[in-house]
Symmetry: C2
Subunit: 320 residues, 2 copies
């Protein structure tokens, strides 16, 4: 069986699941739909949009994704990249038995502005699901108020390895907060029983100190993966320009970076980085403004791709 031929027994159902992100009004948002919960059809939950993989129509997985997203939401996706394939058995979805395994191929998509979605989909600020990830106005209070005490209590029953893992993930006891470890943090909270999803999956789970707004099945895990990915990508690819209009002010751009990375940036240094890095060029036009000196409008400078190997924006160094 080492010869590349897949086993015929293994025929799980496969769907494509989309994490579609945009930033509007300085809030990063994710496109969600409301679905009835698997066990309790009267309860509705936020879910990521998912669609079938239709072999008859689509030559590639990415085309399949673009097609059903267009058909279902009217949204024309720009930047798309594959995220991760989720296939653990107990994914908390409508997985009925042990034999039929559900496989979801997750995709990350960035769209330019909040286009009002057709259908029942809606844009939701992602920090509602991850309040501990937004450090733009300082350390999130939920950390001290809820997460740390509950985590401590849980860790008292764990070994030193878990303690170390938690320290690194949450920047405790002298460790630094690493903005990219979004999934690590979510997984710890899940294991510690601090998110509603783990209560659902495990009846014997501990107390209901739930943090953040829950999602259907394992969709919050998928969103965590996407946030970590987009934060990482910012550094070395100019994906940020997928999220802003064709022309923009440097402050607009900065706010979008801050929204994604969850940290505050030093304004003048951000400008220096972006301008001297050759990522943008001025248009000569100034934006109409609502007070203060009117800022110049810039556009993405495509030529940077040939000039520099990794044109991105370095992340925070959280201010203060």
């Amino acid at each position: 069986m080492i010869d590349g031929a897949p086993d015929a027994r293994a025929a799980p159902t496969v769907d494509l699941i989309a994490v579609i992100l945009a930033v509007t009004d300085e809030q990063p948002r994710v496109l969600t739909v409301r679905v009835p919960a698997a066990e309790r059809p009267d309860v509705h939950r936020d879910a990521l949009p998912a669609g079938p993989l239709d072999p008859a129509h689509d030559r590639t997985l990415e085309l399949a994704l673009r097609r059903w997203v267009r058909e279902q939401t009217g949204l024309e996706l720009g930047y798309v990249e594959q995220l991760y394939t989720f296939g653990d058995r107990d994914r908390g979805g409508d997985d009925d038995g042990a034999t039929a395994r559900a496989l979801s191929i997750g995709y990350l998509a960035l769209v330019r502005e909040e286009q009002p979605p057709a259908s029942a989909a809606r844009w939701r600020p992602w920090y509602e699901h991850f309040p501990w990830e937004d450090w733009r106005r300082g350390r999130p209070s939920v950390l001290e108020a809820a997460i740390e005490p509950a985590l401590d209590a849980w860790l008292a029953r764990c070994d030193a390895g878990q303690r170390e893992r938690a320290d690194i993930a949450f920047g405790l006891r002298g460790a630094a907060w690493d903005a990219y470890r979004v999934l690590d943090r979510y997984e710890l909270l899940y294991e510690a029983g601090l998110v509603a999803e783990s209560q659902r999956d495990d009846a014997s789970a501990s107390d209901p100190h739930r943090v953040g707004r829950a999602m259907a099945a394992d969709h919050r895990r998928i969103l965590a993966t996407a946030i970590g990915r987009v934060r990482g990508k910012l550094k070395y690819r100019p994906v940020i320009f997928e999220l802003v209009p064709p022309t923009f002010t440097l402050l607009q751009l900065q706010r979008v970076v801050e929204a994604l990375s969850g940290g505050a940036l030093h304004k003048q240094n951000f400008r220096r980085l972006i301008e001297r890095g050759g990522l943008v060029e001025g248009t000569g036009v100034r934006a109409t403004t609502r007070g203060g000196r009117p800022p110049e409008l810039f556009r993405f400078r495509r030529e940077v791709l040939r000039e520099r190997p990794t044109p991105g924006v370095t992340l925070p160094s959280i201010r203060r």
Copy 2:
């Protein structure tokens, strides 16, 4: 169909495919098996080992992978991460019709040393498949001798966008060579008909200026994805230590980084980076040596994970 329920029509076969990497004798190697070609059973090709996803046995995809790799090759995998899911229709495999789609979930694994593989698997230097990726002894001659002329000829029939894409991928006309764009380069060569795989997939393909050793189906594309990933990962996670013995000299470590990244490093600066970055600690023991001052043996310093957000090694700046 936006509700997360997968369509029952879509039931492709799924297998797990492993890119298992090691570095021995300063050569990066990949574990391959020999399989008969889909169209011509008399011809054998290098392939990546693949195994089934068995829902009955394995709770997670990663466990399934570890299990069949252990069973088939005797190899106990250490570091494992999911790479990418390959599911385009024309993957060049034993895909018989348009209806049955083959899905391969690729995994990247790093193992510590060249353990002599049981079974028919063998270790193969990956630069045989990608000779243009090895810049350790300067610019690979295959670029000037074969790739650039053929690429130029092909680009003459393309639009300016392709020209730009090729410049960026291969560092032509003033652009910088970016070690991470392994997949971009392979895909261009594929499209230009410069690798044997594209001849197989397209009977009308151009001349046989083939570069690098071919692999079965789309396995070379998968390997390219893995190489790009591991090169990227080096920068911000200490994955390098998955590939060296528990204690090692700094030169050994440097050679492994160079093998993976495909570039030469400045020795003293590498030492400074590693030591002052707190990635290693001396053992006080010196290695037995074959001439020259005996070097000290170091070990990975685990505490660095809590001290620094992104403990990795910055890549070359290719010397000379």
